[in-house]
């Protein structure tokens, strides 16, 4: 069964067609990258998957369960949160400034529970360890952490529900290069260890290549091209994808246009 199945997805904001007839699959444990220019509809797709935005039409299924309509009641909401989680670009805005990493993660564990206090504590240690936070960092408040450390906290908290799908919306974009590499390695390890599926939204084609099996190129809400990541990036079929590819600075880049 696919982790995510999206069919004929549309979203209108008033007359503005922000997402137009988008469809894709992410197999269990797979990793899809969505690339496209600013305003192309990437975040809107992510928000519909999480349930922060309601599709105008089309269907979204995660682990075979439809979620194109708002959840009916807290049980369904909880199930959805257990299945799919999201990490945003700037964890600063999504983390409670008063809360240490440990208490933020513990809160999620308690909410999605069924664990005894001892089990919870063990799982908490495991998560903190998995994302590479030190003990000191795990008890610090967000403002005393660096951007990379905050992003580790956000990832640990997202993993706490035990999701099968993780949506990463520009989650590594604002990080320093050396920190971005650490987080990319961490995300690759987590996927290898847990079989989690990723939906990675990024404007950085190299980041997508590093982390994704398949890629979808979006422009003005429409799918320009989608397929195997290496195939699409090395042999783009569409002019727009070629332009995106050619805009990546590499050695010997000809900047004359």
């Amino acid at each position: 069964m696919n982790a995510v199945e999206v069919r004929s997805l549309n979203k209108f904001f008033k007359a503005h067609h922000a997402v137009a007839d988008v469809g894709f699959d992410i197999p269990a444990g797979g990793s899809l990258g969505i690339v496209g220019e600013s305003g192309s509809g990437k975040t809107t797709i992510a928000r519909m998957l999480v349930g922060l935005e309601c599709p105008t039409s089309g269907s979204i299924a995660v682990l075979g369960r439809d979620r194109s309509r708002p959840a009916r009641g807290s049980t369904e909401r909880n199930t959805r949160a257990q299945e799919l989680q999201i990490v945003f670009q700037d964890p600063y805005t999504s983390l409670d400034p008063q809360q240490s990493a440990r208490s933020a993660i513990d809160e999620v564990l308690r909410h999605h529970g069924g664990r005894s206090a001892a089990e919870r504590a063990a799982r908490l240690d495991e998560l903190v360890d998995q994302v590479g936070l030190t003990l000191r960092q795990s008890v610090a408040r967000p403002r005393d952490l660096s951007g990379g450390q905050r992003q580790r906290v956000a990832i640990a908290r997202a993993l706490a529900t035990g999701p099968r799908v993780l949506v990463l919306d520009e989650a590594v974009s604002a990080l320093d290069v050396s920190i971005q590499a650490q987080i990319l390695n961490l995300l690759a390890d987590i996927r290898a260890d847990t079989g989690l599926a990723y939906l990675l939204i990024s404007h950085d084609l190299a980041v997508v290549r590093q982390l994704c099996d398949t890629v979808l190129v979006l422009r003005r809400g429409r799918v320009v091209e989608q397929g195997d990541c290496g195939q699409v990036l090395d042999n783009p079929a569409e002019e727009y994808t070629r332009a995106l590819r050619a805009a990546v600075p590499v050695q010997g880049w000809r900047i004359a246009v």
């Binding site: 920190i179 980041v207 590499v250 900047i255």
Partner: protein
């Protein structure tokens, strides 16, 4: 005969006075020379001091910060310029392009008013002539319907377009030096390419020098002839862009190169640098990179290494010869094994 450098920084330092009466070093031992018409890249992670360098060059440091050492523009000492000389220097000598154009433009005034202000004030041009000049330069930076744009407000145009307006405003002042501080970081890649191409073309056509600041090493290599890598308020390596990929010698530069995923192949694993980048005042007494460096020895932690010539560039690493020899050896043995 040697020509006078366009810009010369020698032993530039910037210190910041803290509220408790102490002082924090933000930049140290910065030596840099830029020839007329040359493009130099300044690359580093956040807090390495890139923007502080620009602020020191333009004497736009925050009030609590003070600069030491020498800054010379076309041979003239910038640090001792009087108000009139400083105004002339900022109006016509250097032009600044920032990361976020919206933060540097008055949102309540039309683009035309913004672009012609300096022309009318400093050059005494009439309104009609100034507008004609502005329109011509907008066309030069690839903006279509320039006459219509002059009547628009900043919020009516996209970020990429506004950055071109900023570049146009700099070009109108006809500076000899452009300081571009992350000018494309906020833009889409395709727009970045266009904006960078415009900067590059204008620089060549007008023989302007450029200091191009970015955290993206690959972008700097594509745009500049020479690249300086900064870490914790110091230059740790400087060499020609052409030689940097193959001949990077400083462990930090090597780390940066290994950290970036490649567009044409997936790496098994990125060779991430452990820890996080630090600012100058957070660094210990020795090599600032030592806590993250795989080659660090106790000596590294105690003795600050000088910036010394190595393999056609300048490198600030006490062990550069050994590290280079070890790397070259592994290559040779790899080749032998194949």
């Amino acid at each position: 005969m040697t020509t006078v450098p366009l810009l010369e920084l020698s032993s530039l330092t910037v210190d910041f006075a803290t509220e408790d009466g102490g002082s924090r070093t933000l930049l140290a031992d910065l030596d840099l020379t830029l020839a007329p018409g040359e493009a130099l890249g300044l690359v580093g992670e956040s807090g390495s001091g890139k923007s502080m360098t620009v602020r020191a060059i333009t004497r736009l440091l925050p009030p609590a910060a003070s600069a030491g050492g020498a800054i010379r523009f076309e041979g003239r000492d910038v640090t001792t310029m009087d108000a009139a000389a400083l105004r002339a220097y900022r109006d016509g000598g250097v032009g600044l392009v920032f990361q976020d154009p919206r933060a540097h433009i008055n949102p309540t005034r039309r683009i035309g008013a913004f672009l012609t202000e300096a022309l009318r004030h400093n050059r005494g041009l009439g309104k009609r002539e100034a507008l004609a000049r502005a329109e011509a330069v907008l066309a030069e930076v690839g903006i279509d319907e320039p006459a219509r744009r002059l009547r628009q407000y900043p919020h009516e145009v996209s970020g990429g377009m506004l950055q071109r307006v900023m570049i146009a405003s700099v070009l109108l002042a006809e500076p000899r030096l452009i300081l571009a501080d992350e000018p494309t970081t906020a833009l889409d890649v395709t727009i970045q390419r266009e904006v960078v191409a415009i900067l590059d073309r204008m620089r060549r056509e007008r023989g302007m020098g450029m200091v191009f600041i970015t955290h993206d090493l690959d972008l700097a290599l594509a745009v500049c002839g020479r690249v300086a890598v900064m870490y914790a308020g110091r230059i740790v390596e400087i060499r020609s862009a052409r030689s940097l990929h193959e001949r990077a010698a400083h462990p930090y530069t090597l780390g940066l190169l290994g950290s970036r995923p490649a567009i044409d192949a997936r790496a098994q694993r990125l060779t991430a640098i452990p820890g996080r980048p630090v600012s100058a005042f957070e660094a210990g007494g020795g090599c600032a990179f030592a806590p993250r460096c795989a080659f660090a020895t106790p000596t590294c932690e105690n003795e600050p290494p000088p910036l010394v010539p190595f393999d056609g560039g300048l490198v600030r690493c006490a062990r550069v010869e050994e590290i280079h020899a070890a790397r070259t050896n592994t290559w040779t043995s790899k080749e032998a094994a194949e």
